[in-house]
C-alpha cells in the first residue's frame, strides 16, 4: 500500500523504507528553530545536566520574536540568555534585533525551509512550514533541548486526514476564511494527533503566503502537522528565497495512500469568516456577526503578517479613516521594508493606524496592543482563547486581513466585500 507525504518524509528521516501510522520512529532533524520564550529554558535544562553542545550550529535557526524588542526586565533576561548561548555556540543563522522577526514568517523568507525536510520548533505554529511539502511540528522546551543536543526526536507517525479544497475563492475571500471554515466544521480537536493534508484545485491559485496561513492554523484543529504538496508555486518561491543549500527532495502522497478521513470543501461557497470568542472553531460567516462593535483591529502575526496580507489591508484602508485603534505589525524586517518601499506605510499612517516593529507582540497578549477588560478586537491572528490578547474578560474575533481592515474603518465587524 502507498504512503502519504507525511509518512514518506518521516520514513526518510528515520532511515526506513516505510512507516505506518502509530509507529514510533526516531527521526533525524533537518532544521531546529530556537526562540526567546521557549528556547532559554531548554538551554538551562541542558546546562544543569552538564550538556553544553549543539548537534549542528548550521541547522539551528535562532530569532527572538515573542517579546522582542524586550518588553520588560524579565523578557530582557530571556533575550540575554538566548544571546549568550547563540554566541557561545557560534550559531550561524542568528537573527538579532534589526533582522529578527516572527519566526514562522522569517524562516521561509530567509530560505531555511526546504521540501522533504523535518523541522521542529518550540512553538505550536511551527506546523506553518508544511506549506512547503515538509514535515514540521511544534514541540516544548524539553524536546528542543533534546533536539539541540542530539539532532533527533521521537515521533509517533500520525494518521492522515485529507482536505480536498475545490472551486475558486470569491472576491474578498481568502485562505484565512478557508481555514476558519475548515476548523468550524471539524472542531479544535478535529485532527487531534493527525496530519492535516491539504489538496485540491483551490490551492493552485493560492500564493505560498496564503498557503502558510492555512498550515499555520493546523494546530488549531489539534493536528500534529499541516502539509501541502509541491507545485510550481512552491518551486518559484524556493527559487527566489533559498540561499545556501538549494537542493531538496520532493515527496508526494501515493494515489493509494491511506487516509483516515477525507473532507471536501467547495471554496467558491465559502464566505468571509469570523471566529467568535473563545475558540478558533467558533467560525461564522460575516453576515451572521456583522455590526458587532469592536475596540481594536490587529493586523499581523505568523498567520497573517506577511507582505501579501499588508497589501490586502492597505488596499481597503487606502483613502479611508479607521474608527478604532488599528495596529499593523509587519512580521519581519524584510516585510517591514517592503511595506515601506511600496508606500503602504503612508496608507496606514493616513488612515490613522500605528505601525509596530516585527514581533509576536499582542497576538499572545504580550505587549503592543494588549486589551483592557471588556474590550473587543478583530484580529488576523490564530487564537481567540480566554485572555489571549489581554484581560481575561476581553474578546478576540479572528478574521482575514481584509475583514480586519474593513472592520477597522467601520468600528464594527464588516464584510470586506463592501470595500473592494
Amino acid at each position: 500500500m502507498g504512503m502519504t507525504i507525511t509518512e514518506k518524509i518521516l520514513a526518510r528521516a528515520a532511515n526506513k523504507n516505510s512507516v505506518r501510522p502509530g509507529e514510533l520512529v526516531d527521526a533525524q532533524l533537518d532544521v531546529v528553530l530556537f526562540i526567546d520564550v521557549t528556547g532559554p529554558p531548554a538551554v538551562s535544562m541542558l546546562e544543569t545536566r552538564g550538556i553544553d553542545k549543539v548537534f549542528d550550529r548550521e541547522k539551528i535557526i535562532v530569532t527572538p520574536d515573542h517579546f522582542q524588542p524586550a518588553k520588560d526586565i524579565k523578557s530582557a533576561e530571556l533575550h540575554k540568555r538566548l544571546d549568550q548561548w547563540a554566541r557561545r555556540h557560534n550559531i550561524k543563522y542568528y537573527y538579532k534585533l534589526g533582522r529578527a522577526g516572527v519566526c514562522h514568517a522569517l524562516l521561509p523568507e530567509q530560505g531555511h525551509i526546504r521540501p522533504g525536510e523535518v523541522i521542529i520548533g518550540p512553538d505550536s505554529h511551527t506546523c506553518t512550514y508544511g506549506a512547503f511539502a515538509a514535515f514540521s511540528t511544534g514541540v516544548g522546551s524539553t524536546d528542543l533541548a533534546a533536539a539541540i543536543a542530539t539532532g533527533k526526536l521521537w515521533f509517533r507517525v500520525p494518521a492522515s486526514m485529507k482536505f480536498v479544497l475545490s472551486g475558486k475563492l470569491g472576491p474578498g475571500v481568502y485562505s484565512k476564511d478557508v481555514i476558519l471554515a475548515v476548523i468550524a466544521r471539524i472542531g479544535v480537536d478535529g485532527t487531534l494527533y493527525k496530519a492535516m493534508e491539504f489538496t485540491g484545485s483551490a490551492l493552485k491559485s493560492m500564493s505560498m503566503e496564503a498557503r502558510m496561513t492555512m498550515t499555520n492554523m493546523a494546530i488549531e484543529a489539534g493536528a500534529k502537522n499541516g502539509i501541502i504538496g509541491f507545485d510550481q508555486t512552491t518551486k518559484q518561491y524556493l527559487d527566489e528565497h533559498l540561499k545556501d543549500k538549494k537542493d531538496y527532495t520532493i515527496y508526494e502522497s501515493n494515489s493509494d495512500a491511506k487516509y483516515e478521513e477525507v473532507e471536501e470543501f467547495d471554496c467558491s461557497k465559502i464566505e468571509p469568516m469570523v471566529a467568535l470568542p473563545h475558540l478558533p472553531s467558533n467560525g461564522v460567516t460575516i453576515s451572521e456577526c456583522s455590526a458587532k462593535q469592536m475596540d481594536q483591529a490587529y493586523i499581523g502575526s505568523c498567520t497573517n503578517g506577511r507582505i501579501e496580507d499588508l497589501r490586502i489591508a492597505a488596499k481597503i484602508l487606502k483613502g479611508k479613516q479607521v474608527a478604532i485603534r488599528t495596529i499593523i505589525v509587519p512580521a519581519t524586517p524584510t516585510i517591514w521594508k517592503q511595506a515601506k518601499d511600496e508606500d503602504l506605510f503612508d496608507i496606514f499612517y493616513d488612515a490613522g493606524c500605528v505601525i509596530a516593529a516585527p514581533t509576536c507582540g499582542a497576538c499572545l497578549g504580550g505587549f503592543m496592543g494588549v486589551l483592557a477588560e471588556g474590550e473587543k478586537c478583530v484580529s488576523t491572528t490564530n487564537r481567540n482563547f480566554v485572555g489571549r490578547m489581554g484581560h481575561p474578560k476581553s474578546e478576540v474575533y479572528l478574521a482575514s486581513p481584509a475583514t480586519a481592515a474593513a472592520s477597522a474603518i467601520e468600528g464594527k465587524l464588516t464584510d470586506p466585500r463592501e470595500y473592494l
Binding site: 514510533l24 520564550v37 521557549t38 532559554p40 529554558p41 538551562s44 535544562m45 541542558l46 545536566r49 550538556i51 515573542h66 517579546f67 518588553k71 520588560d72 524579565k74 523578557s75 533576561e77 530571556l78 518550540p122 512553538d123 505550536s124 511551527t126 511544534g138 514541540v139 516544548g140 522546551s141 524539553t142 524536546d143 533541548a145 533534546a146 543536543a149 542530539t150 521521537w154 479544535v188 480537536d189 487531534l192 494527533y193 494546530i219 489539534g222 493536528a223 500534529k224 475558540l279 499572545l364 497578549g365 504580550g366 487564537r383 482563547f385 480566554v386 485572555g387 489571549r388 481575561p392
Partner: protein, 161 residues
C-alpha cells in the same frame, strides 16, 4: 490526601493554564502562582500537594509552552485526568516525567472534591468519596519508559550511556 479539582469542560487551553503574560519567566515557583488563573482564580488557593485536576476533551490545547506543565507541577498536582489531551501538552508531560491519565469514564464519574487513590501500575483509581473503582489504560510502554527514567533528557542520557 488526594483531592479532585473537576473542571467539567473541553478544550481547557494553555492560555488558561498559564497566561502568556507570565511567560517572561521559566521559574516553576513563579509560574505556579498563576496556575489556571484565567480559568479559576481561586484554584491556587485551594489546591494542595498531590491533588489532581479532572477535565474533559482536549486538555492543554493551544501553545507549545511547557510552562503549562511546570505551572501544574509547581502547585503540586500529581496528575491530570482528562477524556483526551492535546498533542503537544501530552508530549511535554511525558518529556517532563509527568504522568497523565486518559479516561472518559473517570472524567465523567469523579466529582469535584472527591478523594482519590491512584495506582498507576495497576491502572486503577479508587474514588473513596463515591466508593467506586475506575480502571484506566496505563500510558504506552515507550511513554512509561521515559517517565520512569525521570523525563526525556534523563532517558536520553541513560540510553546513550
Amino acid at each position: 490526601m488526594t483531592k479532585a479539582h473537576v473542571y467539567n469542560r473541553d478544550h481547557i487551553n494553555t492560555d488558561e493554564i498559564i497566561p502568556a503574560r507570565y511567560l517572561n519567566t521559566d521559574d516553576q515557583a513563579e509560574l505556579a502562582k498563576h496556575c489556571l488563573e484565567d480559568l479559576d482564580a481561586e484554584f491556587v488557593k485551594k489546591v494542595q500537594a498531590d491533588d489532581v485536576i479532572v477535565a474533559g476533551e482536549d486538555f492543554g490545547c493551544g501553545s507549545s509552552r511547557e510552562h503549562a506543565i511546570w505551572a501544574i507541577r509547581g502547585v503540586g498536582i500529581q496528575t491530570v485526568i482528562a477524556k483526551s489531551f492535546a498533542r503537544i501538552f501530552y508530549r511535554n508531560a511525558i518529556n517532563n516525567g509527568f504522568y497523565l491519565i486518559e479516561s472518559a469514564e473517570a472524567a465523567e464519574k469523579i466529582k469535584d472534591g472527591d478523594e482519590l487513590e491512584i495506582d498507576y501500575e495497576a491502572g486503577l483509581i479508587k474514588d473513596q468519596t463515591a466508593g467506586i473503582d475506575i480502571r484506566f489504560n496505563p500510558l504506552p510502554d515507550f511513554a512509561l519508559e521515559i517517565i520512569n527514567d525521570g523525563g526525556l533528557l534523563e532517558h536520553i542520557k541513560k540510553t546513550a550511556d
